[in-house]
């Protein structure tokens, strides 16, 4: 009896086959319980490509794209959350003024060129304090009440940016705008508080989506409705079940998007997401390790996997460096030398991981950093670490604490490895406390904790200004790692005032070098992962910093189904 697939696909499994397999399942369950195959040995390279070039065929219209997603947006209000749950589709219902290139237009995974989205062009004054954006004409809001397809104008941008500055999680960024002028219907002029060469980049971040005033004024918030100018109309958002996006027939970029419907199935369990992919209920998913891709390949031999290489890591050991003993740079350096990060890559991430650094390397060099590049304090040298700690006045080690939230299972292994190595190499006793997210976050963000913490920097905005000034300047509210270094302060301010891209790279490198030298943030390895897709997907590649299944959701605009 054929079984009916989610999209009308018939996959024949005869009654005889079914009974045979049902019998086998019972045996299989038992067998699996008794013997679990060993994990793949550490491997240094991935057999999967890092980049999937755009299809050369003519794009086909139609079809339904489905993805099983771990994330569920708590609310639809872009003023109130920067969660990936929202931005896995907010960039499809709404546009920004500027955007990063789509994979289809990119020369490779690290191409970070800017393109116009709702703005056709933009210029800045010589001092980078006034930014003028010329808007695309003829853009209409989606034909959904109460907007009903009215024209998008400069007044909408002004209203939206002022609302972002007034309240919510984006206040800090939008308060940098001193004033907004709209000299005509299609021109927006931003007056910045201080010179900033990265204004266009900040407005290209996935979170800078433009929403209409009608919803905010009618509802008082944007929690329940989302209407934009984007390629997809939000047809349904049923919490914990699914998000359904329908092609916007009046989209200003004529002929796009290609896919008629995009369904995001909220699937919290990883095994279920993989099962959804195996049974073709999901067209693409994210997996962490090479062995997982290999396991999927057994049932789906024609899958297409992109080996995604992170250009930065979100997690590292944060030290209370404004208090003893971590206010002594020798202690921080000793810690860095006592932890074998390569071992974590080889064991925890099966060789498919990166050593860890906080500023995306693409902002200061072309190639991925090597271990040597981090400098002397980042090499695994336990004997020297011990000596340095003794010089700092702790010949017999000391006791400290570390709290963390397990974002993913590998993290616990990493925490335990760090604990073991600090004990073995420095006689430092680390008392670990594993917390639930809210407890962890509340303690982490109040910046009053002592000892150590498995710190993070969030991934919603990844421009160079975000990764340097916003996360490292001593006065920034995002300075979670409590960096307090006058040189870094000076360099990060200088960077946002430097227009020349070459000079920007030089300054960024200086910031990074200083960070490593001072061990201001002790980065830990992180996985690279894979985007795994059904063979009929086209133009779905992820680019650096923008995963198609996450904050890079606008890529879906150019995805098409070859079937």
């Amino acid at each position: 009896m054929p079984t009916q697939g989610p999209k009308g696909m018939h996959r024949g499994v005869s009654r005889r086959q079914f009974l045979r397999r049902a019998g086998g399942t019972a045996v299989g369950l038992g067998a699996l319980a008794l013997s679990r195959p060993p994990r793949a040995a550490a491997q240094s390279t991935s057999p999967y490509p890092e980049w999937i070039p755009a299809s050369t065929k003519t794009a086909k219209r139609g079809g339904t794209l489905t993805r099983a997603s771990a994330w569920d947006p708590p609310v639809l209000d872009p003023r109130l959350t920067q969660s990936v749950g929202l931005y896995q589709f907010a960039g499809l219902t709404s546009n920004r003024l500027v955007r990063y290139v789509f994979p289809e237009e990119a020369s490779g995974p690290v191409d970070m060129a800017l393109k116009g989205d709702l703005a056709e062009s933009w210029t800045s004054s010589p001092d980078y304090r006034i930014w003028t954006f010329k808007l695309r004409q003829g853009v209409k809001w989606q034909n959904v009440a109460p907007l009903n397809g009215r024209e998008f104008t400069a007044a909408d941008v002004k209203y939206c940016f002022e609302a972002f500055a007034k309240e919510g999680v984006q206040t800090f960024n939008f308060k940098e705008i001193e004033g907004i002028e709209t000299p005509d219907k299609y021109t927006v002029r931003l007056h910045m508080q201080t010179p900033n060469v990265f204004v266009a980049h900040s407005l290209a971040e996935p979170i800078a989506v433009i929403f209409p005033k009608e919803i905010l004024e009618e509802d008082g918030d944007l929690k329940k409705r989302q209407i934009g100018t984007g390629p997809y109309i939000l047809k349904e958002h049923t919490r914990k079940v699914r998000v359904v996006l329908q092609r916007n027939p009046d989209y200003w970029d004529k002929g796009r998007p290609y896919v008629d419907e995009y369904i995001i199935l909220i699937t919290p369990d990883d095994a279920t997401r993989k099962a959804a992919f195996r049974t073709k209920q999901a067209d693409f998913i994210w997996t962490a390790s090479p062995s997982e891709v290999e396991a999927l390949r057994k049932t789906n031999p024609d899958l297409v996997a992109q080996s995604y290489h992170n250009t930065w890591v979100p997690w590292g050991v944060a030290m209370a460096q404004d208090k003893p003993p971590f206010n002594d740079v020798r202690v921080r350096r000793a810690f860095a030398m006592a932890i074998d990060r390569q071992k974590q890559v080889d064991t925890v991430y099966e060789g498919h991981g990166i050593l860890g650094w906080g500023v995306p390397y693409i902002y200061y060099q072309d190639k991925r950093p090597t271990a040597e590049q981090f400098g002397p304090w980042w090499q695994y040298k336990p004997a020297e670490a011990k000596k340095l700690l003794a010089e700092a006045g702790h010949p017999n080690g000391f006791s400290t604490t570390l709290f963390y939230y397990e974002y993913f299972p590998q993290m616990t292994s990493q925490v335990q490895l760090v604990q073991a190595e600090l004990k073995k190499n420095l006689n430092v006793d680390v008392k670990i406390t594993k917390m639930d997210y809210t407890t962890y976050y509340g303690r982490y963000a109040d910046l009053k904790w002592e000892g150590l913490c498995w710190g993070f920097q969030s991934g919603h905005a990844v421009g160079v200004d975000e990764r340097t000034y916003q996360y490292m300047h001593s006065k920034s509210t995002k300075n979670f790692f409590r960096v307090n270094d006058p040189q870094i302060d000076e360099l990060t301010v200088k960077l946002r005032q430097t227009p020349d891209p070459k000079e920007q790279r030089v300054i960024t490198k200086k910031i990074v070098d200083r960070e490593y030298d001072q061990v201001a943030r002790l980065w830990m390895p992180y996985d690279n992962g894979f985007i795994v897709a059904q063979p009929h997907m086209r133009n779905h590649a992820s680019i650096a910093l923008r995963r198609t299944d996450g904050y890079g959701s606008p890529h879906i605009t150019r995805v098409w189904l070859d079937k």
Binding site: T3, P6, R11, V13, F18, R21, G24, T25, G28, L29, L32, A68, P74, V75, L80, T81, Q82, S83, E167, G168, V169, Q170, T171, F172, D221, K223, K224, T238, K240, V241, R242, L265, I266, T267, P268, D269, A271, T272, K274, A275, A276, R278, T279, Q281, A282, K298, T299, D436, T438, T439, Y441, G442, R443, A445, S458, H460, S476, T477, K478, N479
Partner: protein, 316 residues
């Protein structure tokens, strides 16, 4: 009988009140709150802004006032809105309850359909191959945790049959067939777990009853085996079984949390877990109170069932 029921209802009040105090207290003891999670992640929120929103949501009130306010909302059956989503809790529950109810009912039906016949079979064929097989099934049900069994079932279904239930939730009224596909597998997993204890209890009580004098008399009268076992023995053996089943309803609700997560069903379990993670106080408190009220009612229902099973029982 009526007096008994009234007395039980009256006694339920302090139980519920104590539950309300415990859940309210526990939620406040846990560090962090919904605002920290929702708005703090960006690192962009100042203390002043957080304080303003806290005031808007009345989270700045003293605990006793917050408790009093919430108690009044519960008594007046207006539990308020979710701090996280702003959705009225009654609406959230309206969506989640049918899912968990259907899952629990189906699991219970499947569990009992498995447990009673196997339990009786084990008892009537004591120490035979069938008995051993039944006992293995029961012990397996007790030993396999929900998360393990659920994960294996969904993974093997995908690998071996290239089929898993359609992800998501479709209402029974919108598409009964699709709904059944979505619920059958999770209910079977949950039901299997539930059936274990019931199976063992059925076996032991039926064994005990089969040794009673009146059963021997029934055999001596020449009654057929089915009549003796199912009409005379089983009914009398069911009182302890019903007690076990009633007691397992709490286990069933706990198991639903895991099963709903694995099979992506938007029920009470996921609603509560998410609310705990986000410190969505009103949602957690309301859900816990609802579950407490359901358990109290079910216990009463179980007690009342005794009289139906054994007419000698009288309530005073």
């Amino acid at each position: 009988m009526y007096k008994y029921v009234l007395r039980r209802i009256f006694l339920a009040v302090p139980v519920l009140l104590l539950s309300s105090l415990i859940v309210f207290g526990l939620m406040r003891v846990m560090p962090g709150d919904a605002l920290t999670v929702l708005m703090g992640e960006s690192g962009n929120i100042g203390e002043k802004e957080l304080a303003k929103v806290r005031k808007d949501l009345r989270l700045d009130l003293p605990y006793y006032q917050q408790y009093g306010l919430w108690l009044w909302q519960m008594v007046s059956l207006r539990p308020g809105d979710s701090l996280l989503t702003g959705e009225p809790i009654a609406v959230s529950l309206g969506k989640a309850i049918p899912v968990t109810l259907e899952l629990a009912a189906l699991a219970m039906i499947l569990g009992l359909a498995l447990a009673i016949p196997i339990g009786v079979l084990s008892a009537t064929r004591q120490d035979t191959a069938s008995d051993y097989a039944g006992r293995v099934v029961a012990v397996s049900g007790l030993s396999f945790p929900d998360f393990w069994l659920g994960t294996l079932v969904i993974t093997f279904a995908a690998i071996w049959f290239h089929w898993i239930p359609p992800i998501g939730y479709t209402s029974l009224w919108d598409s009964p067939w699709r709904n059944l596909q979505q619920f059958l597998l999770p209910a079977a997993v949950l039901g299997f777990r539930l059936s274990a204890a019931t199976m063992r209890m059925t076996r032991s009580t039926v064994l005990e009853v089969l040794r009673e004098d009146y059963v021997r008399t029934a055999w001596a009268k020449g009654l057929g085996g089915r009549i003796v076992v199912y009409k005379h023995a089983l009914k009398n053996a069911l009182i302890p079984v019903v007690t076990v089943v009633g007691g397992q309803l709490g286990v069933l609700l706990a198991g639903a949390v895991v099963i709903e997560t694995i099979f992506a069903l938007p029920g009470m379990g996921r609603l509560t877990v998410e609310a705990i993670q986000y410190r969505d106080y009103p949602v957690v408190q309301t859900n816990v109170m609802l579950v407490a009220a359901i358990l109290v009612s079910l216990n009463l229902a179980v007690d009342l069932t005794y009289a139906w099973l054994d007419p000698r029982i009288r309530y005073r």
